[in-house]
């Protein structure tokens, strides 16, 4: 198997189904990155993410999605604005709050929802769930359960792509909390030192779970990146077009060999840190603060730019797409427990079982 190539090891899930294509199998056609080149398309993607997350919240409540999610609601402008600046060969590394990023990149919501439901039709065949959604064909190097961990992965991909002569750019998304992870700061240095085509996107939503960024980040986010020689800009993360403009500039510079860039997108999550939070009594944010940020919701702004009518039509289109996605997800079979250890090794090595017969 060549490195990086899809490693399709025999799986118990598919073995029983033989070779006949089935509706519940992951799509074999090459997926394509989302086109976000017009305000309409960007609005549609904002709505897709928003509605996807709302649907996911319902499915968490109803128990279809096990374990919960970190909802992206409120931050959509960042994912859409940044992904609008990317081309087909580019890559991205995402976070625990990654649904928006992967959808904006073009991951089929049906496959993402099937993944959240733990089905074989999911992007990761039900093996990854919310925090590990990946699609290498789209350049999605994976969401990540560990804060800050995605950034050096993106840096490595950028390094590799540059070595092969490609002008691809890699984006690393991360939160304000990640600014205090050593490995992220190490990554700033390597990317800067080697002038790698990386765009670091910090989604500063003001909190790392309950910890306010103001009590956690000494200095400033942009100052921190700038200290490594990385051009850094602060952007209104509730404004899709502002994010896109800033991202396009940084991506163009990186693509042209100008080295990494850094964006601090000031944004807010309208929901709790994780769906679990609904069951707790936490008081780290005031209702007034939440309300004030809700006033800055990126969707109405983007809708205004294209007109209410057009927006409503796109909303309908998105609703239909998501209804179909849910149908696909729920129709997709649960994976066969006999294949629980499938894919553990790309070499096909089968681990010893946990008990002898």
């Amino acid at each position: 198997m060549s490195p990086g190539a899809p490693a399709v090891a025999p799986s118990a899930d598919t073995a029983s189904a033989g070779t006949a294509p089935s509706v519940t199998e992951p799509a074999v056609t090459e997926p394509s990155v989302a086109a976000l080149d017009t305000p309409e398309r960007r609005y549609r993607m904002l709505r897709l993410i928003r509605s996807f997350e709302e649907r996911a919240l319902d499915l968490v409540k109803s128990g279809v999605i096990t374990g919960g999610i970190h909802p992206y609601i409120g931050q959509e402008a960042v994912a859409v604005g940044v992904c609008a600046a990317l081309g087909a060969g580019d890559r991205l590394a995402s976070t625990h709050r990654g649904h928006g990023h992967v959808l904006a990149r073009g991951l089929d919501p049906a496959r993402m929802l099937a993944e959240l439901a733990g089905r074989v039709g999911g992007s990761n065949r039900g093996r990854g769930g919310s925090m590990h959604a990946a699609d290498l064909r789209l350049g999605i190097l994976g969401a990540n359960g560990i804060v800050g961990a995605g950034a050096p992965i993106a840096v490595g991909a950028a390094w590799a792509d540059r070595q092969t002569g490609s002008d691809a750019v890699a984006v690393a998304f991360f939160g304000d909390g990640a600014l205090n992870q050593g490995v992220l700061l190490e990554s700033f240095n390597l990317a800067a030192m080697w002038r790698l085509p990386v765009l670091f996107v910090c989604e500063n939503n003001g909190y790392a779970t309950t910890l306010p960024a103001g009590t956690a980040v000494a200095g400033s986010a942009t100052g921190r990146a700038a200290a490594f020689g990385i051009p850094a800009a602060e952007v209104d993360g509730m404004d899709t077009e502002a994010v896109r403009a800033a991202a396009e500039e940084a991506v163009a510079r990186a693509r042209a060999g100008g080295g990494p860039g850094f964006l601090e997108c000031r944004t807010y999550r309208f929901e709790g840190h994780h769906t679990m939070e609904r069951r707790m009594k936490l008081h780290y944010r005031t209702p007034e603060e939440v309300a004030a940020w809700r006033e800055r919701d990126p969707l109405p702004r983007a809708a205004a730019a294209i007109g209410a009518e057009r927006a409503a039509a796109l909303d309908t289109e998105v609703a239909a797409r998501l209804a179909a996605a849910e149908e696909f997800a729920l129709a997709s079979p649960h994976p066969d427990p006999d294949g629980a250890a499938d894919h553990l090794y790309a070499s096909g090595l089968r681990p010893r079982a946990g008990a002898t017969a």
Partner: protein, 319 residues
């Protein structure tokens, strides 16, 4: 009194904080008491002793070492078992080694607490490890309490111990509640607990699996007399207790939620084979080698030790 496992950890922390002003707690979202064990402690003990940290696990673990050398007894709460991977250097290469390398100048009384180790439904590959065997190998004192009383008593002893200790509170044990009619007290590290005596097989069970072990032992009571031994501390292990039990039974089964190769299950079998009386080949039930728990619940469960496997193993060693 009806005591939950999490409440037991919470009381142990509060009691140690009260008893010794040197005790302090570092961790993420501990002010809010997100994970449970630190609930209410910020209000009671203040931000000088209950320290909400930025997401800098490596630095705050090494800071705890420094604070310990300066006279404190820090407790660190980790939200995810695999965060221990992130601080392996600070814990094993620095804190654990300090005493010997300094020629015995000081111990490092530092306790790491992982509330919710092992699988939690839906948390998938990076949040579901049960890496206690790594620390037993490295030689860091390693504790995995199964019950609220043990959680209370062992956490207190861990905090009191002059060396680094890692305490794993298995997610699957957190729902356990106990009716406690006695006064809670510290329980020494390194002492096993026989939950149930038996004469046919010694069943060593770790953490939450103690409860599965007891259920299966009860279920098979008419058929096999199973002694359920909970080591409680995996390192140092109470070898004397194991030896005594095997002296009676001569048969051994271990049920252990860590990966098979080089796990604590391997250690128990190896030591028993070397040093104790075995009248039949021993058996262990573990996760498979190199396990990464998949997200889908049925796959996740398929890779964890099961009662079915346990029944089978108990019957097999009786043949």
């Amino acid at each position: 009194m009806r005591l939950s496992y999490t409440k037991a950890l919470n009381r142990a922390l509060a009691d140690e904080l009260t008893a010794d002003p040197a005790v302090c707690v570092f961790g993420e979202d501990i002010g809010a008491g997100m994970a449970g064990p630190t609930l209410g402690l910020l209000d009671r003990f203040g931000p000088e002793r209950i320290v909400d940290t930025p997401l800098s696990e490596q630095a705050f673990t090494a800071m705890a070492l420094g604070a310990a050398l300066a006279g404190r007894r820090p407790v660190l709460e980790f939200q995810i078992p695999s965060l221990l991977f992130l601080v392996f250097e600070q814990l094993v290469n620095q804190a654990h080694k300090f005493s010997l390398m300094s020629g015995g100048q000081a111990g490092v009384p530092l306790t790491c607490l992982v509330p919710g180790s092992g699988s939690r439904d839906g948390w998938a590959g990076q949040h579901s490890d049960h890496p206690y065997s790594l620390f037993a190998h490295a030689g860091v004192k390693t504790v995995v309490p199964a019950t609220p009383t043990d959680a209370y008593g062992l956490l207190r002893s861990a905090i009191h111990d002059p060396d680094p200790v890692v305490v794993f509170a298995p997610a699957a044990a957190l729902p356990v509640r106990e009716t406690v009619t006695w006064e809670l007290a510290p329980i020494p590290l390194g002492s096993a607990r026989v939950h149930r005596s038996g004469t046919d097989v010694t069943l060593v069970a770790v953490g939450h699996l103690v409860h599965d072990a007891l259920a299966v032992a009860e279920e098979l009571a008419g058929e096999i007399s199973v002694e359920v031994l909970d080591p409680r501390t995996l390192y140092p292990f109470d070898w004397a207790a194991l030896g005594e039990s095997l002296e009676r039974t001569g048969r051994l089964v271990v049920i252990d939620d860590s990966n098979r190769s080089c796990g604590i299950g391997a250690e128990v079998l190896a030591t028993a084979a070397e040093e104790f009386r075995l009248t039949a080949p021993p058996r262990r039930i573990t996760r498979p080698d190199g396990t990464v728990l998949p997200f889908a619940p049925a796959l996740d469960r398929a890779l964890q030790p099961s009662r079915e496997q346990l029944r089978h193993a108990l019957r097999a060693v009786m043949k």
